[in-house]
C-alpha cells in the first residue's frame, strides 16, 4: 500500500518501512500545521498479564507501573543491572491485570526476554504480541477532529497519555492519546488485517483537513525538534536515564527492588558524567550522529573535544539545522558558543535549551 502511494521504502530492524512519501520536509510541516498519518507497525507490542503483572513490571522497569490506573499510559525505561538503558518504552495499563508494553522494533526481542526472566516466580505471563498488532498514528493539531468521527471512543474527554478500547472505522482497536512528534495525536493499535481499512478511512477523512501520509524521516525530525530521545542515538546501554536528562522516570520510592536500582542510585547521587544538550547550527551544515563537539576554536586551532553529536537534522520549523549532543557537564555554563567538526571543518553552533519546539497549548 505504501509503495502504491509512491513511498521510498527503507529496511529498518527487519521491517520494510516507508521512509518518506514525497518530501519529508512537507510531511513534517503538515504534522505541525494539520496532521500526518504514520504506519508504525514495526514497533514491538508485549503483553504482560496476570495478578502479579504490575509487580513484575515494577521489578523489571525503572518506573512505577503498579500504581498506574487502568486506561493510563506511562513513558518508562528498562535498564540493565549496571543502569544502562536497554530500551525506552510506553506502557499502557489496559486493565487491572493487563499491560501493553511498546518497545522499539530493534529491541523487542531483548525487552521480551528480559521481562520474561525478570518475572520468574511471579504470577505474570509475558507474550510477544507484535505480530497481532498493526499501529497507525495520527499526529498533529487536526488529529482529534479527523479521528473523532471515526472512533467509538469520545476523544474530547480523552486526556493525554491515556488509552481506551473502541472501534475505529468499525474495527476493534486500542486508541491512545500518545505520540512521538511533539504534537497532539493518537495511536491506533489494531489487527494487522484491519490496518489498510483503517488507514484508508483515516486518509479519506483527513485529506480535506490537510492530513498527509508521513514516513520515518519526518518522524525523526519531529521527535528531534521536540527534544525526544531515540534509542540508538541518545539512549543505549552505555548511558543511564540521568545522562539523557530523564532521571525523573527512575522511581526510587516505589515499593520493592528493581533491576538497576543500586547503580542508578549511585549515578543519581554523583551526578551525570555527560549531559544532553541542544545545538543550533549557524550555517546550513548538518551536525550528524557521531560528529565531535568542539570548544575554544576549530579543529587544529587549539580546540578541545567536549562532546559528541547524537542526532542532527535540518529543523523545518526553525529553518536551521539542529542537533542533540552529549557534552561535558561544565560546557553548558562555560561555552555557550561551540563548534561541530563536520568532516574536518568546524561549523559554529550555539547551545540551546531542549526542546527546540514546544506546541502552543
Amino acid at each position: 500500500m505504501h509503495e502504491r502511494l509512491g513511498a521510498t521504502m527503507t529496511s529498518f530492524a527487519g521491517w520494510q518501512m516507508p521512509l518518506r512519501y514525497a518530501s519529508e520536509t512537507a510531511e513534517h510541516l503538515a504534522v505541525r500545521s494539520a496532521a500526518g498519518l504514520f504506519d508504525l507497525s514495526h514497533m514491538g507490542e508485549i503483553l504482560v498479564t496476570g495478578p502479579d503483572a504490575g509487580a513484575a513490571l515494577d521489578y523489571a522497569l525503572v518506573g512505577n507501573l503498579g500504581s498506574l490506573a487502568p486506561g493510563r499510559a506511562r513513558y518508562t525505561m528498562i535498564c540493565a543491572a549496571d543502569g544502562g538503558v536497554l530500551d525506552d518504552l510506553v506502557v499502557y495499563r489496559q486493565g487491572e491485570q493487563e499491560f501493553l508494553v511498546i518497545a522499539n522494533a530493534a529491541n523487542t526481542e531483548t525487552v521480551y526476554r528480559s521481562l520474561g526472566s525478570r518475572s520468574e516466580g511471579l504470577v505474570a505471563e509475558v507474550a510477544d504480541a507484535t505480530g497481532d498488532y498493526a499501529l497507525i498514528a495520527v499526529q498533529g493539531p487536526a488529529a482529534a477532529a479527523i479521528l473523532g468521527p471515526l472512533a467509538s471512543v469520545d476523544l474530547s474527554v480523552m486526556k493525554y497519555y491515556t488509552g481506551a478500547f473502541g472501534d475505529v472505522a468499525g474495527r476493534p482497536s486500542w486508541v491512545a492519546r500518545t505520540g512521538y512528534t511533539g504534537e497532539d495525536g493518537f495511536e491506533v493499535f489494531c489487527r494487522p488485517g484491519d490496518a489498510v481499512w483503517i488507514w484508508e478511512a483515516l486518509a479519506g477523512a483527513g485529506t480535506p483537513a490537510g492530513l498527509v501520509p508521513a514516513g520515518l524521516a519526518a518522524r525523526d525530525t519531529l521527535r528531534l525538534e521536540a527534544g525526544m530521545p531515540l534509542y540508538g542515538n541518545e539512549l543505549g546501554p552505555d548511558v543511564t536515564p540521568f545522562e539523557a536528562g530523564l532521571g525523573r522516570v527512575v522511581k526510587f520510592d516505589k515499593p520493592g527492588d528493581f533491576v538497576g536500582r543500586e547503580a542508578l542510585a549511585a549515578r543519581a547521587s554523583e551526578g551525570p558524567r555527560v549531559v544532553l544538550a541542544g545545538l543550533t547550527m549557524q550555517s546550513r551544515r548538518i551536525a550528524r550522529h557521531g560528529y565531535p563537539v568542539l570548544a575554544d576554536g576549530g579543529p587544529g586551532s587549539g580546540s578541545r573535544r567536549v562532546g559528541t553529536v547524537t542526532s542532527g537534522a535540518p529543523s523545518p520549523t526553525l529553518g536551521v539545522p539542529i542537533a542533540m549532543a552529549y557534552v561535558e557537564p561544565g560546557v553548558s555554563r562555560d561555552h555557550p558558543e561551540l563548534a561541530v567538526d563536520i568532516r574536518g571543518q568546524a561549523a559554529p553552533a550555539d547551545l540551546t535549551n531542549l526542546p527546540f519546539y514546544r506546541r502552543s497549548q
Binding site: 521510498t8 521512509l19 518518506r20 518530501s23 519529508e24 520536509t25 524521516a217 525530525t221 546550513r284 551544515r285 548538518i286 550528524r288 537534522a313 535540518p314 539545522p321 568532516r343
Partner: protein, 132 residues
C-alpha cells in the same frame, strides 16, 4: 521518473550536458528522490581541476551525505550559486538545477573529449530499474 534523452549519465547518478567544450553537471531525478530533501550542496571552487570519477563536492539531504563525483576531466569554470541559497531546487527541478560547469579538453576532431563509460539515457534507465 524522467530521464531526458539528450543528456549523458554516470552510474553515480550525475547527469552531464555538453555544449561545445562546456559540460554542465547535476544529479538525476532518481538520485534526488533517493536522497530526499536536499539541504546543502558543497561545490568545487571555480578554477579547480576535477577528474572523472573523483569526488569534488557533497550533496547533503535530511538523511544523508553523498559525495558528488565529477563525470568528466577538466577545469571548473562556473558553479551554480543559486543552489547555496535554495538547495531544494535540486529536488524541484533536478535537470535544471545544474551544479557546476567544467571546461573539457577537445579531441583531435575538435569534439569534447569525454571519458569512456558515460551512459546514454536508455542505459541509465536500465541501471535504475535494476536497482529497484
Amino acid at each position: 521518473m524522467s530521464i531526458p534523452a539528450d543528456l549523458r549519465y554516470t552510474p553515480e547518478h550525475e547527469w552531464v550536458s555538453v555544449e561545445g567544450t562546456s559540460a554542465s553537471i547535476g544529479i538525476t531525478e532518481y538520485a534526488a528522490q533517493q536522497l530526499g530533501d536536499v539541504v546543502y550542496v558543497s561545490l568545487p571552487r571555480v578554477g579547480a581541476a576535477v577528474a572523472a570519477g573523483e569526488p569534488c563536492g557533497e550533496v547533503e539531504s535530511v538523511k544523508s551525505v553523498s559525495d558528488l563525483y565529477s563525470p568528466v576531466d577538466g577545469e571548473v569554470i562556473e558553479v551554480n550559486a543559486e543552489l547555496e541559497g535554495d538547495p531544494s531546487l535540486v529536488n524541484a527541478e533536478p535537470y535544471t538545477a545544474w551544479m557546476f560547469r567544467v571546461r573539457v579538453a577537445q579531441d583531435g576532431d575538435g569534439q569534447p573529449a569525454l571519458p569512456p563509460g558515460l551512459l546514454s539515457a536508455a542505459e541509465y534507465e536500465e541501471l535504475t530499474n535494476s536497482a529497484g
